[in-house]
């Protein structure tokens, strides 16, 4: 029993050292995918038919194919293209962490863009009209009226997507990245103790996601104006004026 605990302890210590790699992939692809999704959302409502077509095609391709294939295609497939293999880009494309981030950015941007698109359609028309009626246009309308509502509507689904992304980072281990899952497999290759190692790895993912969930839930609460004001004491209704 004691040997058991010592083993789990030392494995956990090894796995914890891989947490930064997992978090790095998550952070980079999370930020890039969100930024790209914002652009794609704008394209989805653009006047230009070409922009709308690009957005639809992007979503179709990256949502319709497995992420692991996208990772393989970028990491193994692009190495077969001479101008990448022998060009300036090779420094980036031979790095498995970069390839994972790129694949995840493309794939998850398609999902996040769909979340944003749905939220945009759900922003009450009246709020936007009230903005236009008082003379707001373009960026001001977006920033002052549309975005605040859009973010509040999108946040629950967006949080969900981020949690999914955390788990997807484990696919990086298939192209030699030593993230939490990668290190776990390495340890198993030496020790053959599958159950303990995978349990320890799973516990770390749980911990990361628990932290993220708490963070995102706190953000959601903060933005919920109805809860942000703790039961205001409502003054008596002033009687009709005449």
């Amino acid at each position: 029993m004691e040997e058991h605990l010592t083993f789990i302890g030392s494995v956990t210590a090894q796995l914890v050292r891989a947490v930064p790699v997992t978090l790095l992939i998550l952070a980079v692809s999370g930020v890039c995918a969100t930024a790209l999704a914002t652009g794609l959302t704008a394209m989805s409502v653009a006047r230009s038919p070409l922009a709308r077509l690009i957005q639809r095609t992007w979503t179709f391709l990256f949502r319709g194919t497995p992420l692991i294939l996208q990772i393989f295609m970028i990491y193994y497939g692009f190495a077969m293209i001479p101008w990448i293999r022998h060009g300036m880009l090779w420094t980036a494309f031979r790095d498995p962490v970069f390839c994972t981030c790129l694949a995840m950015t493309c794939c998850c941007s398609a999902y996040i863009a769909e979340i944003f698109r749905g939220a945009l359609a759900a922003v009450p028309r009246g709020e936007i009209e009230a903005g236009r009626a008082c003379g707001m246009t373009g960026f001001m309308l977006l920033r002052r009226v549309i975005a605040p509502s859009l973010i509040r509507i999108a946040l629950p689904s967006y949080s969900n997507e981020i949690i999914m992304m955390t788990k997807s980072t484990s696919l990086a281990s298939t192209i030699t990245v030593l993230d939490i899952t990668g290190v776990a497999q390495q340890v198993i290759a030496h020790s053959y103790r599958t159950l303990e190692v995978f349990c320890a790895a799973a516990a770390l993912y749980l911990l990361i996601n628990a932290g993220l969930s708490a963070l995102l839930a706190a953000l959601e609460r903060r933005l919920d104006v109805d809860r942000a004001v703790p039961s205001i004491s409502v003054p008596p209704v002033v009687e009709p004026l005449s």
Binding site: E127, G131, A133, C134, G135, M140, R144, I232, V238
Partner: protein
């Protein structure tokens, strides 16, 4: 004799179709400063669409609109359809007006005070202290002085509409458009909103009101316009419209309410 007050709004021959359905079949309307014009008509008579054309929330298929002496930037595109030719100019035109909606349309993420301050502060870029002072005065005026920090969701419909009216007045617009402001309210709330609108009329605000409130149209407005099938069926001062010489169509429109 006092000279006639200046014209605030000129709308000429406004036409609008949605698909095959012609909603506005050529409506003209002129509003002088201080006038309160009630637009009445059955549902589907085009009154809301007409009102929404006046601040270009709806682009008419035909016609011209001017607020004061500023012409609405409408021009034909290469397909011959009328469209807003200059978005900024359209926005500038809208800053001269304000609109009160049936569904209030307050911004839910802003407090009552922020809702009222938003347009003068961000769109008109007026001085913050000045805007704040005006907003306070207006909120007191509409009986919402104690609610500065409240969010719209917390308020009753009548309270929301009073805030929306304060928001509309915050920029000191030349013309206030009311799109069925009491239709979403229960009878008691209707009273408080109408009382407020009456007081605005009395202080000389130029208002165009699409409404189903006959008593308001009769007692408060300076002119009543009856729309039917996308046309002005009859119009005139309330004494004439509600008197014995009223057009038969308008009387027929009124009669269910009179019963």
């Amino acid at each position: 004799m006092t000279p006639p007050s200046p014209t605030v709004l000129t709308a000429t021959n406004i036409r609008k179709s949605f698909g095959d359905r012609e909603v506005l079949a050529g409506i003209s309307l002129e509003a002088r400063e201080g006038e309160v014009i009630s637009i009445l008509g059955g549902s589907g008579s085009g009154k809301s669409t007409f009102l929404r054309c006046l601040n270009l929330l709806e682009v008419p298929d035909e016609g011209q609109i001017a607020i004061g002496d500023v012409q609405a930037p409408l021009a034909r595109n290469r397909h011959g359809r009328l469209e807003v030719s200059d978005g900024r100019a359209a926005a500038r035109l809208r800053t001269q007006t304000a609109m009160v909606f049936q569904g209030f349309n307050l911004w839910p993420h802003l407090t009552v005070l922020q809702n009222v301050m938003e347009a003068p502060l961000r769109v008109h870029r007026r001085d913050r202290d000045e805007v704040l002072a005006t907003a306070r005065t207006l909120l007191e005026r509409v009986g919402m002085a104690g609610f500065h920090a409240a969010y719209p969701k917390r308020l009753s419909g009548g309270q929301q509409q009073r805030v929306a009216i304060a928001r509309a007045l915050a920029t000191n617009p030349k013309l206030v458009l009311f799109d069925e402001p009491t239709s979403a309210l229960d009878p008691e709330r209707v009273r408080e909103v109408l009382a407020l609108m009456r007081s605005l009329a009395e202080e000389g605000r130029t208002m165009i009101v699409v409404t189903h409130e006959m008593a308001f149209a009769r007692d408060v407005s300076s002119r009543v316009v009856h729309l039917m099938n996308g046309r002005v069926e009859s119009s005139g001062p309330p004494a004439q419209m509600f008197g014995p010489d009223a057009s038969p169509a308008f009387r027929a429109f009124l009669s269910p309410a009179a019963l």
